[in-house]
Subunit: 430 residues, 2 copies
């Protein structure tokens, strides 16, 4: 089986289900709100300035700016900005952030070609689904070696989304995928720097640039995903062909996870479990958190001293949540709070342990009260609460980040508009 | 030793020798002539069209076009075009093409900042030298796994060259190198397609974009070359720190090899050896070529049927050279010649064998005449014929590709002009 041919066939032929499109629309709202909220970050200012210097044909909009830019630059800027807060969606099948790599490429391509909302949503869904499938094919070895699936697998999703909108035929799509093979990139060593969100922007930019060149007749090697010196074999890919099982009939994207806490996604299952506890903080003598071993090296900083470090600390976010410092609000993650006496005292009563029988999306929280009483809570992020519950939570998050009215307006545009005019205008901050 | 700090120190402090700068000027002439000769290739038309669509601030010139473009686009276009003929220089220490990845980034940055010719030449030399050093650090394992050093090591050279001209300080240079670490790319699986020259363009574009962003305050991980999840460890790098021995005092770039035959560089030592034979083709009963084992899988197509395949065939180029079909002329590599009866008859009397005691730059050619007479010729590309002999050959190549007058004019600009105005104008084809 040729990987590029499988992906091309999927991109050109697949018929998305209503259920998958419904989740895609939730991700569009989530992406728009974390993007707009991230537009004030320093990295956004740097990218906006670069785009302004380069100028060019106003093919596509930039989040948080009245300026327009060529599609490739828009994808770079919007991918980076929307990942800047680390508050966007995650898929755990491959551990990557599908929306920030794919939606910016899809949106820029949609603006470039004048696509309508339905064409845009279909293309974006094809792209995010493909990025997850490619990520599974690359596997945990690829991720553990150091590759950021958001940047690597994401670029393959971005090019399919852009390619659909640009109307590439099967041959051109193969060349576009081949060209992405020789440039898809992204390292986890950038975590904690502006390089992390930039990995998403690079993926989106790689995708749209490759699609634009393929549309003009660019010839590359469509075997360059899996051949001997192709992307997978050279980048510690496992080549797990189960990644492509049932592609086009089952939509992995449906189980994408939206973040409802402004911290590392590895902490979320424990925070959700903790949310079931309704006692007072002074009743808590000890908290024991049990999680998947992978997270022990990712988000288990014992004594964080900065707001950024707090976002990667089981002990800190547990203390915050119990003391009523809402973990949904990114402004609550501060250096000052890391030194707060009540917080650190409670933090020091939290222990963390690994259990490999748990999945990466599961956690146990055991709370010991001042007496001998113990309560145990469990959460599995993978348990689907149903579309309406998910929608309510994403809308609530959007309301917190953007204000109720703006959040409601954007959701209405995503749900009902036939074209992208108002949605694009909303992203610019207009 | 921190790799980024070593490279930064080199870029900011090194004082190039006159000998190194003299070779750099030869490479500028060589680069300009293969670039102008490549501007009619299909991939050049595709890149020119993409640049025209995107438009933007005319920061830098495009080879073979009156249009100007933002510096990043110019680097992408010029890197790709100048590698399109596969006729540019090679360094065998790491097996990469230094000029096509670095000079386009340096030139775009020089135009962007209004640098003079001396500043441009120093920055270009820093970049090509650094790309070779990084390539040695990555090693043969990186290359054999499938990475095209032109794209990977080249990007690190490109960012240093651009960074010098943009006036980055040491901290900014570290961030620019860190950002390149998360995006440097290029696979050998693209060989034989437009993806191969594009790898050079991508390297140049990565370099200048990272330098521009670092100048604006972009923060990345300067340890991302060698740290656990850095570029080297994730990309099968050997981490051979001897790559940085004597950096700043010894200039590896001096032993760069210019191509004088329009075919794979692995064939050149045998063609140079064959050039010592002064007999007639009809006197030749058999030819035995002995070469380094690495080339047996690179350029030993036994019975090529296309002009492109002929460029990767010991037997074919040997027959061509003996029959007087000048291998310096790319127009001589045709599908028709592959079917020529005299050529194929002589081709079939050529045998090729490997000998691992030879270096990658050495070859033996044994010619058996119609009697029992045998002659053996040897050539080592690494044997330095001296600057004036090298200059004469590069100038002769330029004259063949561009015409004598134009070649002489460009050489005069490189040798004597204090600014880049006329050189840049010449590249546009004006």
């Amino acid at each position: 089986m040729n990987v590029a041919a499988t992906l091309t066939d999927f991109a050109l032929e697949a018929r998305p289900t209503d259920a998958a499109l419904a989740v895609l629309r939730l991700s569009l709202l989530d992406w728009a709100c974390v993007g707009l909220a991230g537009a004030g970050e320093p990295v956004a200012g740097i990218l906006h300035a670069q785009a302004a210097e380069e100028g060019g044909t106003g093919q596509a909009a930039l989040i948080g700016s009245a300026q327009r830019a060529p599609a490739r630059m828009a994808a770079l800027v919007n991918g980076t900005i929307s990942h800047a807060l680390d508050y966007d969606d995650t898929h755990f099948a491959h551990i990557g952030h599908p929306s920030v790599a794919v939606i910016p490429a899809a949106l820029a391509a949609a603006e470039l070609t004048g696509a309508d909302a339905a064409q845009f949503q279909r293309a974006a869904l094809i792209g995010v689904e493909a990025s997850i499938r490619v990520g599974i094919w690359l596997g945990r070895t690829h991720y553990q070696t150091g590759f950021h699936q958001t940047g690597t697998a994401g670029a393959f999703g971005a090019v399919l989304a852009a390619g659909c909108l640009l109307g590439l035929d099967a041959g051109q799509m193969g060349h576009a995928l081949g060209l992405v093979s020789t440039r898809a990139s992204g390292l986890k060593s950038q975590f904690g720097t502006m390089g992390k969100p930039m990995n998403a922007g690079i993926a989106a930019a790689n995708g749209i640039e490759a699609a634009c060149l393929a549309a003009k007749g660019f010839v590359s090697d469509p075997g360059a995903l899996e051949d001997a010196q192709g992307f997978g074999p050279t980048h510690h890919g496992e080549g797990d062909m189960r990644g492509f099982d049932d592609i086009g009939t089952v939509w992995q994207f449906i189980s994408v996870q939206h973040k409802f806490h402004a911290c590392c996604h590895g902490l979320h299952a424990s925070l959700e479990a903790l949310g079931q506890f309704d006692g007072a903080p002074e009743d808590v003598r000890a908290v024991e958190i049990t999680t998947h071993p992978r997270w022990m090296s990712v988000c288990n900083i014992a004594e964080p001293s900065t707001g950024l470090e707090a976002k990667f600390s089981y002990r800190m976010v547990t203390a915050m949540a119990l003391l009523g410092h809402d973990t949904a609000l990114r402004e609550n993650f501060t250096d000052t709070l890391c030194r707060d006496a009540r917080v650190t005292a409670l933090r020091d009563r939290v222990t963390v342990q690994a259990d490999e029988t748990l999945s990466e999306m599961q956690a146990h929280v055991k709370i010991t009260g001042q007496g001998a009483d113990k309560s145990v809570f469990f959460h599995d992020l993978d348990a689907d609460p149903g579309l309406s519950a998910r929608q309510a939570r994403v809308q609530a998050k959007a309301a917190v980040l953007l204000g109720s009215e703006r959040a409601r307006d954007i959701w209405r545009m995503i749900e009902t508009d036939k074209d992208l005019t108002r949605f694009v205008a909303a992203l610019t901050g207009a």
